[in-house]
């Protein structure tokens, strides 16, 4: 699934139901589409640059931070 949504060909599908492989890490644009679609929560990005989430109210962010 994640390999299908990746337009920059960072991920490559493997045969025989083996896990998807990261083949061109340097091409990643950090769009996080793979992370969102992964049902197993198996994807993790290192040194990620998250965009500013100013669509969420700061009160909600504070609440979520406390819960997490």
């Amino acid at each position: 699934m994640c390999a299908d949504v990746c337009t920059t060909e960072v991920l490559e599908k493997q045969s025989d139901f083996k896990p998807t492989k990261v083949v061109k890490e340097e091409n990643c644009i950090e769009c996080l589409s793979c992370l969102e679609i992964c049902p197993a929560y198996a994807i993790e990005h290192e040194d990620l640059t998250p965009t500013r989430r100013f669509h969420v109210e700061s009160k909600v962010i504070e609440m979520v931070k406390k819960i997490v």
Partner: protein, 180 residues
């Protein structure tokens, strides 16, 4: 009369001073909600024409900024100026690891950009509208309008991928007076 104006100015300054972050945030969210709703309604009323409408409107807005920034010598310089002079979009040149950033042939420049911070994406997420929809053409028009004004070219933009954290777009710039 002058005293009255001066008093009003002082009142305004005091008001500005005491305006809190929450108040600004509420105002921003109101603008986001209204603009999202507006685009959604235009879309349902005019169909695909809404895309052209959004594109044209923001292209004019981008062109104004581009004219203000003045002529630039290259794509990199133009994008740098664009990033430095506005805070709503963060635009970076991007190419695959083994490919050049800008492909140029017969006066046509082709390159890809990654947009990280994007006010339109934030609005879409807030008002629960899909990406690649009408509102994305606001970003497209804005970028093309600014680049056309700064580089004196004809531009075209295509959305290659729309993600939650970044989008990938392809831009084609043609020198004015040349056929594609």
């Amino acid at each position: 009369m002058e005293v009255e104006v001066e008093k009003k100015r002082k009142d305004y300054e005091i008001e500005e001073e005491f305006r809190t972050f929450e108040e600004y945030e509420t105002a921003l969210h109101a603008v986001m909600d209204i603009s999202g709703e507006m685009v959604h309604i235009i879309e349902s009323a005019t169909g695909k024409g809404a895309r052209a409408l959004c594109y044209t409107v923001s292209k004019g807005y981008g062109a104004k900024l581009g004219m203000m920034l003045g002529k630039k010598n290259g794509v990199e310089e133009a994008l740098d100026a664009l990033n430095e002079n506005q805070d709503w979009w963060n635009i970076n040149l991007w190419s695959k690891h083994d490919e050049p950033l800008i492909e140029e042939s017969d006066g046509v420049k082709k390159f890809k950009i990654v947009i990280r911070d994007c006010t339109v994406r934030q609005t879409l997420l807030r008002v629960n509208l899909p990406q690649r929809s009408t509102m994305c053409h606001l970003t497209n028009g804005y970028i093309i309008g600014a680049l056309e004004a700064m580089l004196d070219v004809k531009g075209n933009i295509e959305i290659l991928h729309a993600g939650n954290n970044a989008c990938l777009k392809e831009i084609t710039l043609t020198l004015k007076g040349m056929n594609k």
